[in-house]
């Protein structure tokens, strides 16, 4: 049982539990918190699998943008008082949980940066940003541009959708 | 000039000029009448020319019209004595009546239409007379029927006139179907429709005698329609709704004679068709008798004359049936002359007194001399009193009926025609006495005065002709005989025996006498005759037209109801059922499918998942 395996199992178990928490927790805010943890765990997994770039991207976008958006949605649509269906985590448990996850991710990042042997990556092809960039912008140029358009449209579109029209009561 | 050119021109001129009155009527006014008279005058002139200078052998000329496969339909003319005679009669009488119409129809709405229809009619009738192939005859036969419809319904705003026109067309149409079937059968068997071949070699044309009889009877069926014989006569009395000039021309002299002419034209064919002529004779004599009884009880002057026409046409048919070809054709000529005269006289009275009921007429002898004289002469001729023309031809037919009885032992035709003669004399003098002589039974407010020259002149001409045409039969009119002889090769029919003549004239005088004592002297009271049971029963029978009208009505209604009912059922239950059923099917299916539309996103997501799984399975399996 080497470190890689232990790390992998830890990540896997934590991520699965968090995902379950997203789905099963009664309080929607708790669910959002669980989601953050799950996403971070997946970022850790990306790092373990050898692509730090991908894990950074994951953290930035999901943890930075998507979660914020979801939290806003949660906040703006909360209506009723939370009722527990399964045993909710207490405050300290919550904190411990969260802290451990963050720690894991950071450790992995550090280890990769420093030791560089923890992850699984066959020899020969560096999976760093430069290589990825080359592939993206040469082979998948069209897709990237389309994606850019998509994201722009989505952003503008979602703003437009929720814009208050003239004559709205609320 | 080649006589055949005349033969094409005679019907051609009126037909070609037909559209002019209706197209330019407003600008021409009286002019359209003159165009009609002018064109018919030309036809008359050419016809008379042909009369004087006929071709020595029947002339035949045809033009190919439709060619199909191996067959060919041709349009042609056939000029022989019979067709020349018919053409003279038609154009001459038409000319006189058009002149009469100038005054009679002067104040009518839609006059250009009248002239156009009259020209179309005359042209078509002439075309029919001179036609050389059966298909040409059929075309003109139909055209003549159409003109009859148009002219009867001239006052189309009157519902009775419109109904009468429709009835005339429909009833004659039934007969026309027979004609068409006969033509088709003839063509299938003989492969030709040209008269020259059918008349001159009838046995070669159609080999089987049964087929010949079938064709003859079918053609005769059509003739019963146009000539108002039993069973297709119901339209003629109603046809009196049209103007009197129309009745005079079409329904007394020319169109109704077309049926007789048709049988006469195809006579060689009829002669070699077993039993055909028997049927013709029987129906003709029966119609003669029945029509005379129906005229007995009518109070409508024109209707009386209409029944009289039907009766006289029956005489002609009976004459053809018993072998008196010359007598019948001669009677056609004579009848045209005196019957149109009778109608013109009646028309003058109608014009002045504005009524058709004879009870409202009367006391006209002094005021309307020419008109009354015309009717009297016509009545005498109709009754068969010498020296008028009716006597000669009628006697010939009755005599031939007697000979027929002697040779076959069947005296029915003789008895019917003789009886009809007596009744004829009775009813026509009844009409004369009540309508012209006696004072009116119902008071009237119109003054009777003589009609202008334009109307009296044709009557006078016809009076003269009534006296003259009879003598054409005698040795004086030697040159006339070829025109009524069936063939120059056959010996001319001998005059009937004197005793027969005496008997028939005697019956006629009996009729006149009875009429006189009933209506003028009042020795026999018609009211009493009507009120006793036999009298009233007979009266009802006669006035209802022997219930033919009611029978046809009932049959038509029944058939229509059955067909309509069947179609209605089909439409409602099958078609509507199908359409509604499909709609119902769709709605109910929709209701069932609706269940899946819960509106909940989760359900839809689950459905998507299920779909994906199925697709995956299919993907893997296939």
């Amino acid at each position: 049982m080497d470190l890689t395996q232990i790390t992998f199992y830890a990540i896997a178990i934590l991520a699965s539990v968090s995902a379950l928490g997203v789905v099963a927790s009664k309080d929607i805010v708790r669910a959002a918190s669980f989601l953050i943890v799950a996403l971070s765990m997946i970022a850790a997994l990306f790092a373990l699998l050898g692509s730090l770039f991908l894990s950074m991207v994951q953290l930035m976008i999901y943890g930075g943008a998507v979660i914020v958006v979801i939290l806003f949605g949660v906040m703006l649509t909360r209506r009723e008082e939370p009722k527990s269906r399964i045993r909710q985590l207490t405050r300290s448990e919550n904190l411990a949980y969260l802290g451990f996850s963050v720690l894991l991710v950071l450790t992995l990042a550090f280890l990769e940066y420093r030791i560089g042997g923890l992850y699984l990556r066959p020899e020969g092809i560096p999976a760093d940003s430069q290589a990825i960039g080359i592939v993206m912008y040469s082979q998948y140029r069209g897709v990237v541009i389309a994606l850019a358009g998509l994201v722009a449209t989505a952003g503008v579109g979602s703003i437009y959708l929720v814009k208050r029209k003239r004559g709205d009561s609320s | 000039m080649n006589p055949l050119i005349y033969a094409w021109l005679i019907p051609g001129i009126p037909l070609v000029l037909t559209p002019i009155p209706i197209l330019a009527g407003r600008r021409l006014e009286r002019g359209s009448g003159y165009i009609a008279i002018g064109s018919i005058a030309f036809s008359t002139l050419f016809s008379v020319y042909l009369l004087i200078r006929p071709p020595l052998t029947p002339a035949f000329q045809s033009v190919s019209w439709i060619a199909f496969g191996t067959g060919r339909l041709s349009v042609g003319i056939y000029v022989d004595h019979l067709s020349i005679l018919m053409s003279v009669v038609t154009s001459g009488i038409s000319l006189l009546i058009q002149v009469y119409s100038l005054e009679y129809m002067r104040h009518e709405e839609g006059l250009p239409r009248y002239w156009t229809e009259m020209m179309l009619f005359t042209g078509s009738m002439l075309g029919f007379a001179l036609a050389g192939t059966l298909i040409t005859m059929y075309v003109f036969w139909e055209l003549v029927g159409v003109c009859s419809y148009l002219l009867i319904g001239f006052w189309y705003t009157r519902p009775e006139a419109a109904a009468a026109a429709k009835k005339a067309f429909v009833v004659t149409r039934v007969g026309d179907v027979g004609f068409l079937v006969g033509i088709v059968l003839l063509y299938l068997n003989a492969h030709t429709l040209s008269l020259a071949q059918v008349i001159n070699q009838p046995i070669n044309a159609v080999v089987s005698p049964q087929m010949r009889t079938a064709i003859s009877l079918l053609v005769f069926f059509a003739a019963t329609g146009k000539s108002a014989q039993i069973p297709l006569f119901t339209w003629l009395p109603d046809a009196m709704e049209g103007p009197t000039t129309v009745s005079a021309l079409i329904h007394s002299a020319t169109m109704v004679a077309a049926g007789v002419y048709l049988v006469a034209r195809l006579y060689p064919f009829f002669l070699v068709s077993p039993y055909a002529l028997e049927v013709v004779a029987l129906i003709g004599s029966a119609s003669a008798f029945v029509a005379a009884t129906m005229a007995l009880v009518s109070f409508d002057l024109k209707r009386i004359l209409a029944y009289s026409t039907m009766s006289q046409l029956g005489y002609m048919m009976a004459g053809l049936g018993v072998g008196a070809f010359s007598g019948s054709v001669f009677h056609l000529l004579n009848h045209a002359v005196f019957k149109s005269m009778l109608f013109l006289s009646a028309g003058a009275v109608l014009h002045v007194l504005d009524t058709r009921d004879i009870r409202e007429m009367g006391g006209l002898l002094r005021r309307m001399k020419v008109t009354s004289l015309a009717f009297l002469v016509g009545a005498l001729s109709l009754s068969g009193i010498p020296p008028l023309n009716g006597f000669f031809s009628k006697d010939d037919i009755v005599g031939a009926a007697f000979s027929y009885g002697v040779s076959t032992g069947d005296y029915v035709v003789y008895i019917l025609t003789l009886g009809a003669a007596a009744i004829t004399a009775f009813y026509i003098f009844r009409a004369f006495f009540i309508a012209y002589v006696l004072p009116p039974r119902v008071s009237r407010d119109r003054e009777a005065k003589e009609v202008p020259l334009v109307m009296t002149l044709p009557m006078v001409i016809l009076i003269a002709l009534t006296f003259i045409t009879g003598w054409l039969w005698s040795p004086l009119g030697d040159f006339f005989q070829p025109y009524v002889r069936y063939s120059p090769l056959l010996p001319f029919e001998s005059e009937p025996a004197l005793y027969l003549i005496v008997v028939s004239v005697g019956f006629a005088l009996l009729g006149i006498g009875l009429s006189y004592i009933t209506y003028v002297r009042r020795t026999i009271d018609p009211e009493e005759v009507n009120s006793n049971t036999l009298g009233s029963a007979l009266r009802t029978l006669f006035s209802k037209g022997y219930y033919f009208d009611d029978a046809y009505d009932a049959v038509a209604k029944a058939v229509s109801y059955v067909i309509a009912g069947g179609i209605d059922y089909f439409d409602r239950c099958v078609l509507d059922g199908a359409v509604n059923g499909i709609a119902r099917l769709v709605t109910e299916a929709g209701e069932k499918v609706r269940i899946t539309e819960t509106g909940r996103v989760r359900n839809y997501a689950a459905a998507v998942l299920v779909g994906i799984v199925i697709l995956l399975i299919l993907f893997v399996v296939i």
Partner: protein
Amino acid sequence: MISLFQVVLFSTVLFAIGLYGVLTSRNAVRMLMSIEILLNSANVNFAAYAAYTGLLQGIVAAIIGIAVAAAESSIGIAVILLLDKNFRTVDLDKIKELKG
């Protein structure tokens, strides 16, 4: 060392959890979060294969997946906000306007 199978199994587990969440959540926001989990499981799968075959296309695919997911989540939130405005609830069982 970890076999490909284990990583892929993990991604399958995540997928199942996400699917369960999509199918059973009453709250619309929770459904959106479950969708994010689904997308992430797909990305894990991509990354796993990229790691084990050395092809960078897998990583590129994962990046594309992330971008799409982000776009989709913003639209999703917009829709949820509109839902909330119009129906005054985000309980999906209560929103049945399309019924029938």
